[in-house]
Amino acid sequence: MVMSNEIIKTKAPSQSLTMIQAITDGLKTMLESDQNTIIMGEDVGRNGGVFRATDGLQETFGEKRVIDTPLSEAGFVGTAVGMALAGLKPVVEIQFLGFIYPAFEQIATHVTRMRMRTLGQYHIPMVIRAPYGAGVRSPEIHSESVEALFTHLPGIKVVCPSNAYDAKGLLLAAVEDPDPVLFLEPMRLYRGSRVDVPTGDYRVEIGKGTRVQEGNDVTIFAWGAMIPLVMKASEQMKKDGISCDVIDLRSLYPLDRDLIADSVQKTGRVVIVHEGHETGGLGSEIISIINDTSFLYLKAPVEKVTGFDVPVPLFSLENDYLPSTERVETAIRKAYTF
């Protein structure tokens, strides 16, 4: 079972939830506590979202607060910009991350810039939620993992939970954040497992990763749907006497520089696992941070296990595209034996 440190620490009343339930719970908590929050997107109202993330919310909070929009990503993200200017806090759902592209201009030229161009007079407290990633046999363009496009855009934070606890906590932190946050939801983990999630309001801090397994030989950096995979590989490695320090980065912009340095300086050996394309992927950014912080500590080249430089293929080949435990294990061994 993968979970964040916080889960162990928390003593609040809690319930056992899947990630998708935790997200719904987070959205409900938000709508209850702040009249200025609204939810917008395609099929989020009566239908409750194609993954049921907003199930029941329109019934409870009404059509003014849980808004079904026309099929118009640029239009409704732009509309949300206007709403944010006027003091609302829109939480926008993009049905799948692969359909965020039509809104790219709005995000790159307005969502991310309004604060700077107005020197802080206006700001855009918007959250963009998007299911993402491969592995659930979706059609074309439904399995994108392009977080790196957004971590490169100045003015937006990017987070990605790997479990239900972090999902709710990061979501509420994103809503509270006065600046835009892209909230990535690994589809593969929506219903996979349950963890205890506090019933009330709590936050998981944006910008902080978490060590999900303590180890000394090799550091593994991963997030989202890669965490269960990496945990499996690192269990496997224990049999060979290799102990892995597994870091769930959770926050993709900004990355947790201190935690990255801390682990690398302990192990000197690193494997990075992500499902986005290799070139220009976040793996390279992490290597760059290691170069900056921990050059003298490295005992082996950093290994990357990533998606390839190819469009995510139709689902018969998606497992070939995705990092596998075998690939992760091979990389760990390579880093360990260098």
Binding site: D43, P70, L71, G75, G98, I141, P313, S316, E318
Partner: protein, 353 residues
Amino acid sequence: MENYPLYQIIDENGEWVNKSYEKELNEEKVKEFYYHMLRIRTYDQKGVALQRQGRIGTYVPFPGHEGAQVGSALALSENDWMFPTYRDHGASLTFGADLDRMFLHWNGRIEGCLPSREKRIMPASIPIATHLPHATGAAIAEVYKGTDNAAIAYFGDGATSEGDFHEGLNIASVFKAPVVFFNQNNGYAISLPIEKQMNSETIAQKAVAYGIPGVRVDGMDVFAVHYAVKEALERARKGEGPTLIEAVVIRFGAHTTADDPSKYRDQEEINRQKEAKDPLLRLKKHMQFRGFWSEEWVENIQSDIRTEIESAVVKMESAPTANTDDMFDHVFSEPTWTISRQKEQLGLMGGNR
């Protein structure tokens, strides 16, 4: 609405509303329509069944759309371009897509993405409305090359809200591109009813924005669709530019096999409408009163179609496993070193399975 009356050739009882095409619509021709409608409906039923049995992935049913898809597809000429969505495999099949490729596609196989290696039927466009400018471009290129080929783009009512719908139509109108924008208005974009998608009473009237003809047709009347598309294609080939056609249909089933329509609409009511308005039933009634109907003929074609479909399913299921190389080898004409290296590394590990 008054400006855009619903164009019909036969009514819900299969009776003539407009007899202009009576001659042309002889027994052979009418049977051809019925044959194709029955063929794609049978295929559709197979698709749903295969999905339920876990033999393919998510499937997109189209019952209710058969008249629109067959009527339009049969209006095209051999070398015209077709730009379908995920719901228009009925039109693709009618225009000449390979059945086994279509099934392969639903099975997540790249080999099935392109519906035909001969006909110019493009892969179903998944990002809504993005293919409308492609149709415009292909049409402009045909003019450039001096042919009289045209293009048709299929899209739904929801698609009209996307910028690419607007940009595709605007550019086509400016360059008088020989393209038909064929909308199937089934009243829903997944769960969103059309009243929340747009404030205009019709989709046809959106043509005014581009100074092009807008036509509103009963999409469950295969004849009406056929002639509306045919006339639009004729205008296109004559250099008179694009036409926007709104074919009003009902989506009898779910948005996809992953969708539960009872969440957002009264499915009972839809089922009742199906009874009354099914495009196949309507054509059957028409054929009956014109004396074109024969149970024997139907049984014959039904059995041929079944055989054809079963053999396509066999072909799909006996296809060799998906080839990992396909993922690497067709990103560029020659793989870059990045891709070659990634392919090699995966290969060294014996692939991913």
